[in-house]
């Protein structure tokens, strides 16, 4: 039953939050405390965060900038990576320091490198060996490349981020073809599809993320709380699944 006031009834980890100012304008949250205030308003306990500088400019520099946002508990760092020696070395150093629970793919297609085995094999082999999951924005990547390449690395777990109703024809075949793929739900609004995907593939493959500040934190969380997911499934989608993926408590 809806009311004019919403608060989640399960613990929530937002699996997709971007920090830092964009060139198009400053973020609504300019510092960690403001981000915590926003999370508190929506009842979100923790968030997986990456830095916006990693999206268009530099994963290496953006990962350094992310350090300024981190605290001991509420913000879980997500480091961005591309298949260059210095980017992979940076990630491997962070991994040796036990600070890597997930990575985010930097989009290399604009620079001429598709998501392909001959370009990404070193990175994907490492991800397969370590079990570190990789967040992949569906908005930026060619689905044929994703399927063709990821099929060659069946041990790599991926989270497809930002699926939209314009991806409605892709999502089910992707989840069927790549059994180690998960779907982050920030933009996924085809009617009734979250319940349908849970029924077809299992709620264990669905992950709440907001992609704040592109999108507000509350609406998808409200949606999830007004579906026919069981309380156990809701708890898994809102936090349990990402906890297991990241290997965190």
């Amino acid at each position: 039953m809806s009311t004019l006031h919403f608060a989640p009834r399960v613990p929530v980890i937002d699996a997709n939050v971007c920090v830092g100012d964009a060139h198009t304008g400053p973020s609504p949250c300019r510092n960690r405390q403001q981000l915590f205030d926003e999370m508190d308003f929506h009842g979100i306990e923790r968030a997986v965060v990456y830095h916006i500088q990693t999206e268009e400019i530099s994963p290496v520099d953006g990962n350094h900038q992310l350090e300024d946002w981190l605290d001991d508990d509420r913000l879980i760092p997500q480091w961005s990576v591309l298949p260059t020696d210095d980017s992979i070395e940076q990630i491997q150093r962070l991994y040796r320091e036990k600070r890597v629970s997930s990575l985010r793919l930097h989009h290399t297609r604009p620079a001429g490198l598709p998501f392909c085995t001959w370009g990404y094999d070193v990175l994907l082999d490492w991800l397969s060996d370590t079990g570190i999951p990789l967040w992949i924005p569906l908005t930026e990547n060619d689905p044929t490349e994703l399927v063709t390449t990821l099929r060659e690395f069946p041990g790599v777990r991926v989270v497809f981020v930002g699926a939209h109703y314009t991806h409605a024809l892709l999502v089910r075949p992707l989840l069927k073809t790549l059994p180690d793929a998960f779907l982050e739900l920030s933009r996924y609004e085809p009617i009734g599809e979250i319940e349908a995907l849970a029924a077809r593939f299992g709620a264990h493959r669905l992950i709440y993320g907001s992609w704040y500040p592109r999108y507000a934190m509350g609406p998808m969380l409200f949606y999830l709380h007004h579906t026919r997911l069981t309380d156990e499934e809701l708890a898994d989608v809102c936090a349990g699944n990402v906890r297991k993926l990241l290997g965190i408590g």
Partner: protein, 254 residues
């Protein structure tokens, strides 16, 4: 119903758009509406340029659940000879309650002359007209400033409130200038702070909840309103009271 507030969704569709997973399954739509607390959805069919085909499809769909759906009439200036007769049929015979227009399907910005017979009709009947609005040349919300003052008895609704910031500021400016301009909220762009901006800058009495059902599930769209930093009174206005006022005299929404 949400906390005693009757909820009216001002923006919904009949029809299929297969490549985007849109299907007008009434069971699916009603389940989502019930889960979200939506009492009535306003529906229209934009996929047929003659107007008649789509309006008949809408009427047939609505007839199966007349307590939950109401119809808006769709016409296109690409078939001008059909427009007024079809509007008369839709309002008087099919008992539709407002008008929906979709400028992206035409090469004509919606303040251009071919659209005006529709506005004259709406003005004469005191009807609301909802447009798709965004940043593209035929759909700019600033065109409302050219139309609204000419037809003061009609109410003009910027569907999606322009969708993106550059067009949203136009929509808000038009609503601030003219009392018969309204802003509707459905959008795939669920940017933080937009609902607050619409309410704070145009006024809570000028904002209408919409979802784009069944292209989009209504639950995140209503979540935008419920989780916004606006007062309870503003939420009630946005969620249904404003729509009921615009659609006054229509027995299904009273």
């Amino acid at each position: 119903m949400i906390d005693g507030c009757r909820v009216i969704d001002f923006h919904g569709h009949v029809g299929r758009w297969d490549r985007y997973g849109m299907k007008d399954d009434p069971g699916l739509m009603l389940r989502a509406m019930d889960a979200a607390g939506i009492d009535v959805s306003c529906l229209f069919t934009i996929f047929h340029p003659d107007g008649t085909t789509g309006n008949d499809l809408s009427a047939g769909f609505i007839a199966r659940h007349p307590d939950r759906f109401v119809g808006f009439a769709y016409v296109s200036p690409m078939m001008p000879e059909r427009m007024i007769a079809e509007l008369e049929r839709a309002i008087d015979t099919l008992r539709f309650v407002a008008i929906k227009l979709y400028p992206p399907y035409t090469p004509r910005p919606f303040h251009a002359a071919p659209w005006h017979p529709i506005y004259e009709f709406a003005d004469a009947r005191g009807l609301a007209v909802i447009f798709h609005t965004d940043q593209y040349p035929t759909n700019r919300p600033r065109f409302l400033e050219d139309i609204a003052p000419l037809y003061p008895r009609a109410n003009f609704v910027a569907g999606h409130s322009g969708n993106v910031e550059e067009a949203r500021v136009e929509a808000i400016a038009a609503a601030r200038k003219y009392p018969n301009v309204y802003l509707e909220t459905c959008s795939t762009y669920r940017t933080p702070g937009v609902i607050e901006q619409l309410v704070n800058e145009a006024g809570a009495d000028r904002v209408l909840f919409g979802s784009d059902i069944p292209l989009m599930d209504p639950r995140p769209q209503i979540g935008k309103i419920v989780t916004a930093r606006i007062s309870d009174e503003a939420k009630r206005l946005v969620l249904g009271a404003n729509a009921a006022r615009l659609l006054r005299g229509v027995e299904r929404t009273s």
